[in-house]
C-alpha cells in the first residue's frame, strides 16, 4: 500500500505541489499501477534473458564525430536572458 507520506515525498522530489485532498486519490492510483506491474512477477522467466531490459539489441554505438546542430534551440525556451535560459533558483 502506498501511503500518504510517500505521495507527499514523491511530489516533493518531482517539485510539484498537490493539494491535501488529492493525496488519497494519487495513493490509490499508484496502488493500482503497482498491482498491475505485480503481474510481471508471475511470469516464469529463465535466467538467460534480462528481465529488466526491453531491448534485445546490443553494442549500438556511433563514431566520435562532432556535428553541430544549427537550429536556434532557444526559440523553444519561454524565459531567456541573453543566450541563457532562466530557471528558478533551487538553493533556498
Amino acid at each position: 500500500m502506498v501511503g500518504i507520506e510517500e505521495v507527499r515525498h514523491l511530489a516533493y522530489l518531482a517539485r510539484i505541489s498537490i493539494k491535501d485532498e488529492e493525496l488519497r486519490l494519487y495513493a490509490e492510483q499508484m496502488d493500482e499501477i503497482l498491482a498491475y506491474f505485480n503481474m510481471l512477477d508471475e511470469l516464469n522467466v529463465s535466467d538467460d534473458v534480462e528481465p529488466y531490459r526491453m531491448c534485445r539489441a546490443y553494442n549500438e554505438m556511433r563514431d566520435d564525430v562532432p556535428v553541430a546542430f544549427s537550429d536556434n534551440v532557444l526559440s523553444n525556451a519561454k524565459n531567456t536572458k541573453g543566450r541563457f535560459i532562466k530557471a528558478p533558483k533551487m538553493s533556498s
Partner: protein, 501 residues
C-alpha cells in the same frame, strides 16, 4: 584536543569526475565535446536538451577510453555495460534525469574492484582500492547575476550538458590529506599518459570527498575545484570534526560545500539529492557486451603508463626513483626530459635541472597548480618557450663550467621571456662565469672597501666571510665562481691578520 578525538581513526574516500576531454563529441549526441569559451546554449541539440522523442546514441570512443582507464586502475571490466537513469529535478539537468551507471542487479559499470598503489609515501607504500569506475553525462552549468544569495533566478547554459564523464569512486582508504593529494597527482599522470583527459583544463577533473572519524557519521564535501583545495578541504573537515567530537557535539551526516574564498566547508542547503534517486535501467541505450578479446585489443593499444615509465627511467637513464617519479608525475616534464636527452646525453644532469630549477621556477612564477580554476595558460605558455634544446643547452653550459647555477637560473627567466637559446643569451649578456683571479680582483676589493666592518669581523669570525661572499656574488650579478671568490676573500683576511696592508 582530547585524547579520544585525536586517536579516532580518520577515513577518507574520494569521488572523482574526469571529463574525457580528448573526445571530439559528447557522450550521447554529436554536439562538440569542446564547450569551453562558447556563447551560452550554442553547443546544444535536441538530444542533450532532453527534448521529447529524441534518442541517445553512445559514443564508442568514450566506452573505449573508460575501459582503458579502468584497466590502468586494475579494475575488472564488466562483461555487460548498462546505463541507468538517476532521477532528480534540477535546472542543470534538462531531462530531469542523468544517464549514469548503477550496480544494482549486476556489475553494470565499466569497471569494478580496482586499485592504485601510492608507492612514494616517505618510503612506504599503500594501496587505495577503487570501488567502481563508470561513465555518465555532465550536467549543464548554472550562473547567477551578482551572487547566488542575491540573485532571483538561475541562468542556465547547457553547452556542457552531455559531455562524457568518468566517475571514479574509491573505498575510504585514505588516512591523511596528503595521501589524497598524492593519489590525485598519480591519477592525473595516468590520465595524461593515456591521453584521454587534460587535467589542466578548468573543471576537467573535479573531486568530492567523504570524511569520517572513528564511529561518527560520514560527511560529504562537494564543490572542490583544485587538487590543492582537496587537500585543504579534507584537512579543514578533519579539524572541524575532531573539534566537535572533543566537545562531545554530535557530528551530523550531511553534505557540505567547500568555500574556496574563505577556505572552510559550509553546510549545504537541504536539497533532495541525497534522497531517493529512483534509479532504473535506461531503456533507450542497449547494453554493451564486452568480449575478452575487445579488452585485450584495447590493452594492447594503451601507451606506456606512469609506473612502467618510472621503472624505465631508473633502468635506462640511471635516475633515482624519486627523480623519475617527480618527472613522470607530470607527463610534460617527463616528455621534456626524454626529448632533451637527445641533445645532450647527460640524462641525470638534465633530470636534475628539470626537477629542481625548472620546476622551482614554475612553482614560483607561474602560480602553478596542475589542476585549478582557469590556470592552464601560464605554465603552458612557459612550455611553449622552453624546448628540449633549451634545457639541454642550460645543463651543458653548467656542466662544462661555463656558467654557474645562479646565472643559469637567470638565463632560464630570459628564455621564458624571449625564447632565445641559452648559448646565444650567454654571449649577449656576458654571463660567463668569472673564474679568473684578475676578473674578480676589483669586485673583491670593492666589497672589502665598502664592508670594512664585516671584513674586520671576518678576522675572528668565519660567518662574516659568507656575508662578504654574498656581496661578491651580488656585485658580479651572480657570475663569480663562488669557490674562487671565497678563497680570494680568505687570502685577504689572512693577509690582514698577518699585519699586511
Amino acid at each position: 584536543m582530547t585524547k579520544m578525538s585525536s586517536d579516532a581513526r580518520v577515513r577518507i574516500g574520494l569521488e572523482i569526475h574526469c571529463q574525457l576531454t580528448a573526445l571530439r563529441s559528447k557522450l550521447f549526441c554529436r554536439c562538440s565535446a569542446d564547450y569551453r569559451g562558447k556563447e551560452p546554449n550554442t553547443n546544444v541539440c535536441p538530444v542533450c536538451l532532453g527534448m521529447p522523442g529524441t534518442l541517445p546514441l553512445l559514443n564508442r570512443r568514450a566506452v573505449e577510453y573508460a575501459i582503458m582507464l579502468a584497466l590502468a586502475l586494475n579494475c575488472k571490466i564488466s562483461k555487460r555495460i548498462t546505463f541507468y537513469r538517476k532521477n532528480y529535478f534540477y535546472p542543470d539537468l534538462p531531462k530531469n534525469f542523468q544517464i549514469t551507471q548503477y550496480n544494482a542487479y549486476e556489475h553494470a559499470s565499466v569497471g569494478v574492484d580496482g586499485s592504485l598503489v601510492l608507492d612514494d609515501l616517505n618510503g612506504s607504500s599503500k594501496t587505495i582500492r577503487i570501488r567502481r569506475l563508470q561513465l555518465e553525462e555532465d550536467p549543464g552549468r548554472l550562473a547567477y547575476e551578482g551572487s547566488i544569495d542575491t540573485a532571483n533566478y538561475a541562468l542556465v547554459d547547457y553547452n556542457r550538458a552531455g559531455v562524457a564523464l568518468v566517475e571514479i569512486v574509491t573505498e575510504p582508504d585514505f588516512d591523511e590529506p596528503s595521501e589524497v593529494r598524492l593519489f590525485l597527482n598519480r591519477l592525473a599522470s595516468i590520465l595524461e599518459h593515456l591521453g584521454i583527459c587534460n587535467p589542466a583544463l578548468e573543471g576537467a577533473v573535479r573531486c568530492d570527498a567523504n570524511i569520517s572519524i572513528g564511529e561518527h557519521a560520514r560527511v560529504e564535501v562537494k564543490n572542490i575545484n583544485s587538487f590543492k583545495d582537496v587537500e585543504r578541504a579534507v584537512a579543514f573537515e578533519i579539524t572541524r570534526q575532531r573539534s566537535l567530537a572533543s566537545r562531545g557535539i554530535e557530528i551530523r551526516g550531511e553534505t557540505r560545500h567547500w568555500d574556496d574564498a574563505r577556505r572552510i566547508t559550509v553546510q549545504a542547503r537541504m536539497k533532495e539529492e541525497e534522497e531517493d534517486y529512483r534509479y532504473f535501467p535506461e531503456p533507450d541505450i542497449p547494453s554493451i557486451v564486452v568480449k575478452e578479446e575487445d579488452v585485450e585489443a584495447l590493452r594492447a593499444r594503451m601507451p606506456e603508463l606512469p609506473y612502467a615509465r618510472v621503472e624505465r627511467f631508473v633502468k635506462v637513464y640511471s635516475l633515482s626513483s624519486d627523480t623519475a617519479r617527480i618527472l613522470v608525475n607530470e607527463k610534460h616534464l617527463a616528455d621534456l626530459f626524454e626529448a632533451s636527452t637527445k641533445y645532450y646525453d647527460n640524462a641525470r644532469s638534465i633530470a636534475n635541472w628539470i626537477v629542481t630549477d625548472l620546476k622551482g621556477y614554475l612553482e614560483r612564477y607561474a602560480s602553478y597548480d596542475r589542476n585549478s580554476k582557469g590556470d592552464d595558460g601560464s605554465s603552458n605558455s612557459i612550455f611553449a618557450k622552453v624546448t628540449p634544446r633549451h634545457i639541454a643547452e642550460l645543463a651543458m653550459l653548467v656542466d662544462s663550467g661555463k656558467i654557474n647555477r645562479v646565472t643559469a637560473r637567470q638565463i632560464l627567466q630570459n628564455v621564458v621571456a624571449s625564447g632565445m637559446l641559452p648559448s646565444a643569451i650567454v654571449q649577449g649578456m656576458d654571463a660567463d662565469m668569472l673564474s679568473k683571479k684578475d676578473e674578480l680582483e676589483s669586485i673583491v676589493n670593492r666589497v672589502i672597501e665598502e664592508e670594512r666592518k664585516a671584513f674586520m669581523d671576518a678576522l675572528s669570525n668565519e660567518k662574516a666571510l659568507n656575508y662578504l661572499l654574498g656581496k661578491v656574488m651580488r656585485y658580479s650579478n651572480g657570475r663569480a665562481d663562488p669557490k674562487l671568490a671565497l678563497s680570494m676573500l680568505k687570502e685577504k683576511v689572512a693577509d690582514k691578520s698577518k699585519g699586511g696592508k
